[in-house]
């Protein structure tokens, strides 16, 4: 979760404002939302992902399912795919998850009933970057119609994203081999500070004519973590297909949570549908993104100033909340035990935990870990 420079959680100013508006609106009540969610939320959420001028939206071939966070969107999408993709109830369709990935991806698809979950090459530990060749090879070798979970931006946990050119190559192979793109978009706006930039990959795939799913989370970019605000965007070939898909999504939602929670969706819908509030929100998102970018550059410059062995440009080249530092498990243990700095055994740090006050300490500690422990 995001933290301020004081190390505190941050409720976005625009969220506070909108919550007050909602509280003061006596016409609002707590009645059930429709099964697929608040209509104004769904339309706006998908519009954010696909862009105001999205051809898919204009052609009325976009569907949306309000979900319980990004996880809920992934799960509803997975349940639908297991029932209706590549045949009926085909649990054998291979699911490809990046190596590494958010560990819950595996569980989501497993619990949705898929039996064959594989990894695709992604992180190159040696060069600390994307293993594009490995990734493309895996796509060439994958059985036709396999489903690939793609991180739309700010790959979790490596922070390493394909460049636009690399995305184009990926899309080319996927189209040729009839592979299904399931995007996980948890950090739109939060990664680069720009909503459009962070949605480039998803929009490119849409422009290339793919049918796809995109699981969106508003936990980070709206700071609405515990309200569980998410959206599954469905892009289909035409309106008729999308309509039938949504009718089946309703059946799945009905036995999972019946209808989604209203508070978070109201906040997001109100914000996105007002030009003024929308601008305010974009400003708040940029504040968060900029602070993370600043911490990245400050950490890197300190390590380079300390002449810490190794190269540290990956810290600023990576993007989003997380960074794969390259620290090995022994070095991580040193950080935790000796320096009381908590990070994952994989060497992943949460950049949000860095503040102007602790940058020096963290940089020095990394320097110690790298020089003392091999």
């Amino acid at each position: 979760a995001y933290r301020t420079d004081e190390g505190q959680p941050w409720v976005l100013p625009v969220v506070k404002k909108v919550e007050q508006m909602i509280a003061n609106d006596n016409s609002l009540n707590h009645e059930y939302l429709p099964i697929l969610g608040l209509p104004e939320f769904r339309a706006n959420a998908s519009r954010i992902a696909l862009g105001d001028d999205s051809p898919a939206i204009k052609e009325n071939r976009v569907g949306s399912v309000q979900s319980l966070g990004g996880t809920g969107a992934l799960r509803i999408g997975a349940e639908f795919l297991r029932r209706w993709y590549n045949g009926n109830n085909n649990t054998a369709t291979p699911i490809y998850v990046s190596a590494p990935s958010w560990e819950n991806h595996n569980s989501v698809f497993m619990d949705a009933g898929f039996k064959d979950i594989r990894t695709y090459h992604y992180w190159d530990a040696a060069k600390r970057g994307l293993d594009l060749q490995g990734l493309l090879n895996d796509m060439e070798q994958a059985p036709e119609f396999s489903i690939f979970i793609l991180h739309a931006c700010a790959h979790n946990p490596t922070g390493t994203d394909p460049t636009p050119e690399q995305w184009k190559q990926i899309a080319g192979v996927m189209k040729r081999r009839s592979l299904f793109p399931f995007f996980d978009s948890a950090y739109q706006g939060f990664a680069s500070g720009s909503l459009d930039k962070d949605a480039w990959a998803v929009r490119y795939f849409v422009s290339e004519g793919f049918e796809l799913f995109c699981a969106q989370s508003f936990s980070k970019n709206f700071g609405l973590y515990n309200e569980r605000v998410g959206n599954l965007t469905v892009v289909g070939k035409d309106a008729d297909n999308v309509q039938r898909v949504l009718s089946q999504m309703e059946k799945i939602v009905r036995t999972t949570w019946s209808n989604p929670p209203s508070q978070g969706a109201r906040i997001v819908a109100t914000t996105l549908s007002s030009p003024q509030l929308f601008d305010e929100w974009k400003g708040n998102v940029k504040t968060m993104a900029d602070r993370v970018l600043l911490m990245r550059s400050e950490l890197r410059s300190r390590l380079e100033a300390l002449k810490t062995p190794g190269t540290w440009n990956h810290i600023t080249e990576q993007i989003g909340m997380f960074s794969f530092t390259g620290l090995n498990p022994k070095q991580v243990e040193y950080m935790i035990k000796e320096k009381h700095i908590y990070l994952m055994a994989s060497g992943r740090i949460n950049m949000c935990g860095l503040t102007t006050k602790n940058l020096d300490y963290v940089a020095k500690s990394i320097h110690e870990a790298v020089t003392k422990i091999q």
């Binding site: 707590h30 059930y32 319980l68 966070g69 297909n241 309509q243 019946s258």
Partner: protein, 401 residues
Amino acid sequence: SSWWSHVEMGPPDPILGVTEAYKRDTNSKKMNLGVGAYRDDNGKPYVLNCVRKAEAMIASKKMDKEYLPIGGLADFTRASAELALGENSEAFKSGRYVTVQGISGTGSLRIGANFLQRFFKASRDVYLPKPSWGNHTPIFRDAGMQLQAYRYYDPKTCSLDFSGAMDDISKIPEKSIILLHACAHNPTGVDPRQEQWKELAATVKKRNLLVFFDMAYQGFASGDINRDAWAVRHFIEQGITIVLSQSFAKNMGLYGERAGAFTVICSDADEAKRVESQLKILIRPMYSNPPVNGARIASMILNTPDLRKEWLTEVKGMADRIISMRTQLVSNLKKEGSSRNWQHITDQIGMFCFTGLKPEQVERLMKEFSIYMTKDGRISVAGVSSGNVGYLAHAIHQVTK
């Protein structure tokens, strides 16, 4: 071509269809009796005062929006358990239970169904009363369980087929799962009397069945939270293994906030901890952690003495209005000159009433009087008000005389 060419259009939701038709109707006297949400005497949604107060208190505390634990808000789950089990419950005081926050009643049922599918190896069979809430079947089915039924509602008397139920239940294979509505049976409104519950419990115990209680209307049924939870508490006291789903949608009017809870009664606190860890493993790949808003409101109400008192009064108010509408409907039917026996309308309890009307009569009510209900003759008494109960009685008499 599309990946989805073979995807069939899902069946239209029957209850939604009722509301859609109602909305299109231009008759000023129209009535929507399909709605499964409480309405006040003006036919409007009702936001409880204690809910408004709780919301104001929460807003003033300026809390953050950090993720809840996977199992939910602890103050909420503890208060939910205490509400259901009773503060003097041995099971509650000893801590031999686990309660996780669920997405209202549906989400809690689903977690429970998935948990049983994974850990209850003795049987795949879940026995539902005939009829039951329409969503029970697909929930358990999607969780990988099989559905069976036991007799429950007697359409001839519009009341409980007690001997039929006892007969069927006494023949359920041992170690099967039986689902019971704790109070205010949906859709019939027919509940066993306490004496009947005692006999049911004895049979269930003898057959060594696992009981899944669905309690969606505690307080909302009789107006008394302890009375409505009597069956749940009795079964636990009898040493029967139960799991329980609770909803705060109706009794706190928190419908769209999705506040609910799933409870497993265990042998001891250690077992409860192990069960909890497995429930979390089920929840994480479903939605990671639950929404905070409804749980915070419910928790504030249950844990703040003044608000809790106010809530008990308000929930009794809602229950009383429903009961009063039942009484007025019957007396108005008598005034219309109906010679039929309408006693079941006041015998039944909760939001819904199985009128006993046949599909053709339901159709006439819709076409001739703009009164909308589901084809099975179920009405939501919440949709009845002092302003339209006379019209309803008149219409029912016209189609049944």
